[in-house]
Symmetry: C2
Subunit: 439 residues, 2 copies
């Protein structure tokens, strides 16, 4: 018997058990907070010298001077040329598809003119400079470089600054190759809270950016939260999750492997299957038992399934849909007949994978949509990373003389209601005397 919880919506304590299963609090304990505060202050005060010190201490290699922290663009291209042809081709296909999809997300300026000639609208502009955090070590994912950098590039961001820790001074060739194909304009071999600080405040060597995106460990996440407001940030990501709704007609091996693909990320990852056919849950459990011993990352998968996984029996499709909306999963697989009709009933999910052939894994790499998605139920209020995260809007208002006269009266009325008489008088100046006084 696979070591994974079995829940049924009919259980008396189902709600409580589900809540327990879903509970996740990204806790930065006081120690982490303190460490991050110290690092942020050090970089703000001592700049490059602090970066050198922390690199020695945390990454275990010794740059002689600040300029040693920069990874030249030529080195990125060298990595691109040096990786095996099949990997280069796969990265190229992925980059091209991510770019094509991103093009559809581009926001455009708009405006309209009213009868009196008053113009209203919004002007859309790209951010000037964006920082991209790429984790080092075990979670060094070239796909994340593509997913974070390409939407920024499509948005028209002129400068894309990548930071990546290089423990022991080791560079990850695939990450560098991905940075090359994704259009990174500068790259630095720094990581941790000190890299976030450098991007937020700037140093002599590292340029300050307008927004920092990309995943990282608890120190990186805590630092991003701390600098939020001075710069923009993307979401603070929790562990990755998948929720699969299956009508029982998909090969149970496929479903088991889809659950594994999420669980193999790390021990906190969450894989949940909801079906309305108890016998199918048994078949998937048998597949889990048979396939798990064949997996390279068996131990991580087993832990994640045991600690945070579940096979859930629902009464019917309607109840399964309600569960999905309650969970608001990062990834939702609709492995069932007529997935488009069901998708239209999904109110909260980061990404919806429709149909038996749409493995979440293809979305992770090369389908086109972004794999940076809201986790831990935050799909209730946030969206996948996209081009729109690298653009911003300015309101446009141009009142014609007639428009200014017409708007001046209600503006003055409301301003005086709030006790703001300079506002009122500023509006009244634009109302011709013959046009009726407010007071």
């Amino acid at each position: 018997m696979a070591d994974i919880k079995r829940l049924s919506t009919g259980d008396a304590d189902f709600d409580r058990r589900l809540d327990t299963l879903l509970a996740w609090e990204s806790v930065s304990n006081d120690q982490v907070q303190q460490t991050v505060s110290t690092i942020l202050a050090a970089v703000q005060e001592r700049g490059d010298q602090a970066l050198l010190d922390y690199t020695v201490r945390f990454d275990g290699w010794e740059p002689e001077q600040p300029s040693d922290l920069e990874i030249p663009l030529a080195r990125l291209e060298q990595a691109w040329q040096g990786i095996p042809a099949e990997q280069r081709e796969a990265l190229g296909v992925a980059a091209e598809r991510i770019r094509a999809y991103a093009e559809h997300q581009k926001l455009a300026s708009w405006s309209y003119e009213e009868a009196d000639g008053t113009l209203l609208g919004q002007q859309v502009m790209p951010l000037d400079r964006v920082g991209l955090y790429v984790p080092g070590g075990k979670a060094a994912y070239p796909s994340s470089v593509l997913m974070n950098a390409i939407p920024a590039q499509v948005a028209g961001v002129a400068e894309l600054v990548m930071v990546v820790p290089t423990p022991g001074g080791d560079l990850n060739e695939l990450v560098l190759a991905a940075a090359h194909v994704a259009g990174v304009t500068r790259a630095f071999a720094i990581g941790g809270a000190q890299a976030v600080a450098a991007l937020a405040y700037g140093t002599d060597t590292i340029p300050a950016v307008d927004k920092i995106v990309g995943p990282g460990n608890i120190f990186v996440a805590t630092a991003k939260r701390a600098v939020f407001g001075r710069v923009g940030i993307d979401m603070i990501a929790g562990p990755s999750e998948i929720l699969i709704l299956c009508d029982g007609e998909t090969d149970p091996d496929w479903i088991a492997m889809d659950l594994f693909s999420q669980a193999e990320h790390d021990e906190d990852a969450q894989s949940i299957l909801v079906a309305w056919d108890a016998a199918f849950l048994d078949r998937v459990e048998a597949s889990i038992d048979r396939l798990l011993p064949t997996m390279e990352r068996q131990s991580v998968i087993a832990t994640a399934l045991r600690e945070r996984g579940a096979l859930v029996l629902a009464r019917d499709l309607d109840e399964a849909v309600a569960l999905a909306n309650r969970i608001a999963p990062e990834h939702l697989e609709l492995s069932l007949a007529d997935p488009q009709a069901v998708a239209a009933r999904i109110r909260h999910a980061g990404a919806i994978f429709m149909g038996r052939h749409t493995a979440e894994a293809i979305g992770d790499y090369c389908a086109g949509p972004n794999h940076v998605l809201p986790t831990s139920g935050t799909a209730r209020f946030s969206s996948p990373l996209g081009v729109y995260d690298f653009q911003k809007r300015s309101s446009l208002i141009m009142a014609s003389p007639e428009g200014a006269a017409g708007l001046g009266r209600p503006a003055s009325q409301l301003a005086r209601g709030e006790g703001l008489t300079a506002h009122a008088r500023s509006a009244e100046y634009r109302v011709p005397p013959g046009d009726g006084e407010v007071q």
Copy 2:
């Protein structure tokens, strides 16, 4: 001589003086942090009882039971009926124009199909439930109720929960009337960090929401920052600011009053005029001298102008535009000839008011665009509040069998490059055996 700084871009120390003038750090000191942490924990643990306690302590009135905290919808309508007809009309005009403009911002779902039948896109949905914080006391602005609530309503948010502190139990009739016309669905007489906590965690009486918007004091801002991630929040706002670029052809009284209209908000508000005509700066200064004694809020205006205001002489229009992009102001008035051509060169601003007749004040109330705008240079990476802040996207991916086969190979290749073999095998299952093996 008006007590306002005179700067010139030609001064040797101009850059330093401008940086000093613009410097603003929203500082939550340890004491504030500690107080907010205590309040958040108390509401999370003791729910309604904590709300009652804090209302007695901070707002100085004693609700007998939690249900006393709710302001019935009938009370909102009563306020609407009770205010003077001119105010009702002005609120109605403003609400209608804000709504008409917001309709232009609505995001729509989109998708496209590839040659092999694979479907890609994004589904857009409104948030379910939004919390709207409205400050009490001196900063109780009915216009803010309209500006925060109407975009949510246009987005299709079903539940709009307003919280507003009522010091001494006093209700602000204009705020209630604005809540009525803006479509607020529930209202509660609570404020401070405890109101933010109630909206984030929910209590027996207050429903938990998905996002909290609206301005507040340092305790409210600190609480919003703390619950960010559990719920969405809008920006943390700093003091309000205006930057005016003027070619010297606008009536100097108008410009002086526009500077006042920003400065009257509070002592930290910032009003800066940039012109490339020293004589015009003199004329505006004379207007300031003459008009300031006539202002109801003279003391606030004088302090703000002295502490944070400036009249800046630039070399020419080009330099003025560069200054605007460096400052990234919340409000930018282009009081000059051909403002549309200049607006197109503005990369960073919350809202751009074009032409001599477009006083910022009309934008604050009733032109249509939102008055909730990025402050303190955050227009570099963020946007005015809009309908899009109350909608979110889910990625849509439906691979056809051919699409799954075609995408399976690069996905598998990249997954194996990252050591994620469950991802690889999950994708490979969807590649028919005859279709070429990856390994």
